[in-house]
């Protein structure tokens, strides 16, 4: 067939440059001269996990505020620099970390690093800009409160995770907490948690590696933050003894969103890859796996119905989501539980295993085609300590998995009698509470 050789090779220890600065910052560079752009992704240890519940949203608001003004550049200058170059730089807070994502034409990498360094190291939190930002975030929260998928997701997480667990909370905070976060809170949070310990910077694109590392060094090598805290330990979660249900009714809705599931593995769990493939059989492979086949293809109940494994630093949700007509909520829930039970009752077939192994290994070329795909893969290798040859060895790891491994992972995590089932939909439909 009409196939020719290409320039792509799998990123690994042989072609990723990894440099560690004296202050602990890890810099990873992968040259890709196929496109004219450069993509940068960085991560610092300053996520929502460090904020008190009454200040929920503090980490996220602080992250969003960094590009509103710095010691060297005011708001207008920052945006003039970025937008006149067609560059993009975004800083956002997640549960564990703050993520910085930038892209530019390759010639503008120094500009991205310059702005990132200044915003990380000397933000000024100008009051007028912070209040405007707060107003925008509160507007967004008002829309979220009207969003059935968001409300179901919040109800699911609030019931699966106890109030002392970081996954109980939304990183964007709530309408009660965001108005109460002061600029002093943000300054203090920044001073304590932003620093080089645990920071990772990944650069991929049409750049010269040595120059890229040197540019990072010039802007970050002299950065020290005394007493920067380690990640706190995360409480263990006890599953409910029986299935718990929650319903959030909203006016004027025509569809109900269902989020249901349980606690899955962390990204560090030994059986993570086994659970990942079991999840693929359940609700990903083909048209949304067995759940898609049952709920959408055979029954026509939903436009979407699929499962996902969110594995992060701590054991994370393994959940199924579906959007259905309100009168079909109960039938859909039943069909989803049937598929969970099936995965526990019988090992997947040889064919299921082989197809899903092929799926996970075969899609690497597509994942690694763009700078953004490459950056995402490389930063995960570093943050989750997978080793730089994780992708090089990926094929062997996936093909080492057996039907029993997948079965054991399903049995270990999926507990159909101890689920959390959250539904949000029209307030006035009799069937929607279940």
């Amino acid at each position: 067939m009409a196939v020719t050789t290409t320039k792509q090779s799998i990123p690994g220890a042989h072609n990723i440059t990894r440099a560690v600065l004296d202050n602990g910052i890890v810099v990873l560079v992968y040259e890709n001269h196929a496109a004219q752009s450069v993509v940068m992704s960085a991560s610092v240890r300053a996520g929502g996990q460090f904020e008190p519940p009454e200040k929920n949203g503090l980490a996220s608001l602080t992250a969003n505020a960094l590009l509103r003004g710095t010691a060297r550049y005011d708001f207008d200058t920052i945006n003039e620099m970025l937008e006149s170059s067609g560059a993009d730089l975004d800083i956002g807070g997640a549960v564990h970390r703050v993520n910085i994502n930038g892209k530019a034409l390759a010639e503008d990498l120094p500009l991205l690093l310059d702005l990132m360094a200044d915003s990380m190291r000397q933000p000024t939190f100008p009051e007028d800009h912070i209040e405007r930002l707060r107003g925008e975030l509160i507007t967004g929260l008002h829309f979220q409160m009207q969003n059935t998928r968001y409300r179901a997701s919040r109800a699911f997480r609030e019931r699966l995770f106890p109030a002392d667990h970081p996954y109980h909370y939304s990183t964007s905070g709530t309408l009660d907490t965001v108005p109460n976060i002061s600029i002093d809170d943000m300054r203090a949070f920044h001073a304590r948690h932003y620093g080089p310990a645990g920071m990772v910077i990944v650069i991929v694109g049409a750049v010269n590696t040595d120059q890229a590392v040197q540019t990072v060094r010039e802007r970050f090598a002299d950065w020290y933050t005394p007493d920067q805290p380690e990640l706190p330990s995360i409480p263990t979660v006890t599953l409910p003894t029986t299935t718990q249900r929650a319903f959030v009714g909203l006016a004027g809705k025509t569809q109900s969103d269902i989020i249901m599931g349980t606690l899955g593995p962390s990204r560090f769990a030994e059986d993570y890859l086994a659970a990942l493939l079991a999840n693929s059989v359940l609700g990903q492979f083909g048209m949304m796996g067995r759940i898609g086949a049952s709920v959408r293809e055979k029954s026509g109940l939903a436009y979407y119905a699929s499962s996902q494994l969110d594995a992060s630093f701590a054991p994370s949700p393994w959940l199924v989501s579906a959007g259905v007509n309100p009168k079909n909520v109960e039938l859909t829930v039943e069909k989803i539980i049937e598929q969970l039970e099936r995965l526990i009752d019988e090992p997947v077939s040889e064919q299921d295993l082989a197809q899903n192994q092929s799926y996970y290994t075969g899609r690497l070329p597509l994942q690694l085609e763009s700078n953004e795909g490459l950056v995402g893969s490389i930063i995960n290798m570093e943050i989750y300590a997978l080793g730089l040859d994780h992708l090089v060895n990926y094929h062997d790891k996936i093909y080492a998995l057996t039907r029993d491994d997948l079965h054991a992972a399903a049995r270990r995590y999926l507990k159909p009698d101890q689920l959390v089932i959250a539904v949000s939909g029209p307030a006035d439909t009799p069937a929607n509470g279940g």
Binding site: A2, T5, S85, I138, G300, Q355, G362, S370, A427
Partner: protein, 437 residues
Amino acid sequence: MSNVTRHILDNGMTVLLKEVHNAPVISWWVLYKVGSRNEHTGITGISHWVEHMMFKGTPKYGAGVLDKMVDSIGGSWNAQTSMDYTAYYETLPAEHIGLALAAEADRMVNAMFDMEEVESERTVIISERQGSENSPFFWLGEEVQAASFRVHGYHHEVIGDMTDLHTMTRDDLFGHYKRHYAPNNAIAVAVGAFDSAEMLAQINAIYGAIPAGEPVKLFSRPEPQQQGQRTVTVERPSGSSVIQVAYHSPAATHPDYFALQLVNSVLCGAEMMGGGLENKTSRLYKALVMTELTASVDGSLYPTIDPFMYAISMVLLPDGDADAAITALDSEIDRMRAGEITEAELARARKQARALFAYTTERVTTQAFYLAFSESMGGFEWFENYLDQLNAVTLEQVKTAAATYLRPQNRTVGILIPTNGDGNDLNDAYDDEEGDD
């Protein structure tokens, strides 16, 4: 500069090929020149529903079989229905591209439209529309479009009107398929790691044998010129008020299109087919967001076959004043109409476009899409020369376009008024109904 080649098979199918040897992948698109603009009342949404049925099986590949085959080789496939076209694609590891060629040729002629599958998909599509209806933005967008287009098929949403989704029949769907799915109404594009001569031979071997269909007659009615500003309001539960101001705009192939694209870039920030860059230095961000009249502002000038609309959307703060926001918008629009725009602003808009274009075209999948889409509007050169066309626009042309299109008589103003709870108190509506059971 371009290394795209165009070939017309004997049965009329247009084939575009572009070799890209950066990664061992190939994207294969087949686009049919029919979309929701060609639907009359009674069958609105039919193009989209037919697209769904194309995944429900042929005698050779039963329903769901290809989903598994494509995933098994690590590929991705999907389809999209727009106002102007219906398109299908597979992006696969290069050595497996034969599967994509075979699958699309097969469903060009052999899709079954099984009665049970049609009925099952009816509820899936109704559910898709209900999911959209959960968002207040959908309701506003639908009303603004309907008010802007009284005659033309852009009047209705791609998903279709709910009443038609309930009443369309299997025969309607199958008839639409048979009329529009034929090589002479198709544009096929391959971008990726292949040798063009070998690829063309392979395509000819598979598609060359499919007979041409009857010449396709597309339903299309031109929109008469608007005779004055139109206003629509939508009252729905919503986080805050939303305003959409939509001006009739030129078709993508009209000389004014690129001039108006630059106007949008200066007003609202760089945008290309719904994707955009940050816009904090744009005029409307400064006039609306920096003054805390709105929480955001965005502009959209989607390229279309027929004249569509240039839409500016503003999300108000929860206690925002819609009249004040519109007044501030109008003052900026008036400046633009009066010709207040500089060469420096255009130069910046052009650099932004160059960056956006570079990001957008990194993947073979998006490159192939744009080539197919552009060819359906009259020629792939529209896309290949996208930046050149922007660069060729003069300051005078930009001023003329602003004066021509941004007249109030040429626009529809849509306002979403939030109705939350009985007392219009947002917080009441959020928490009253929550509970465990």
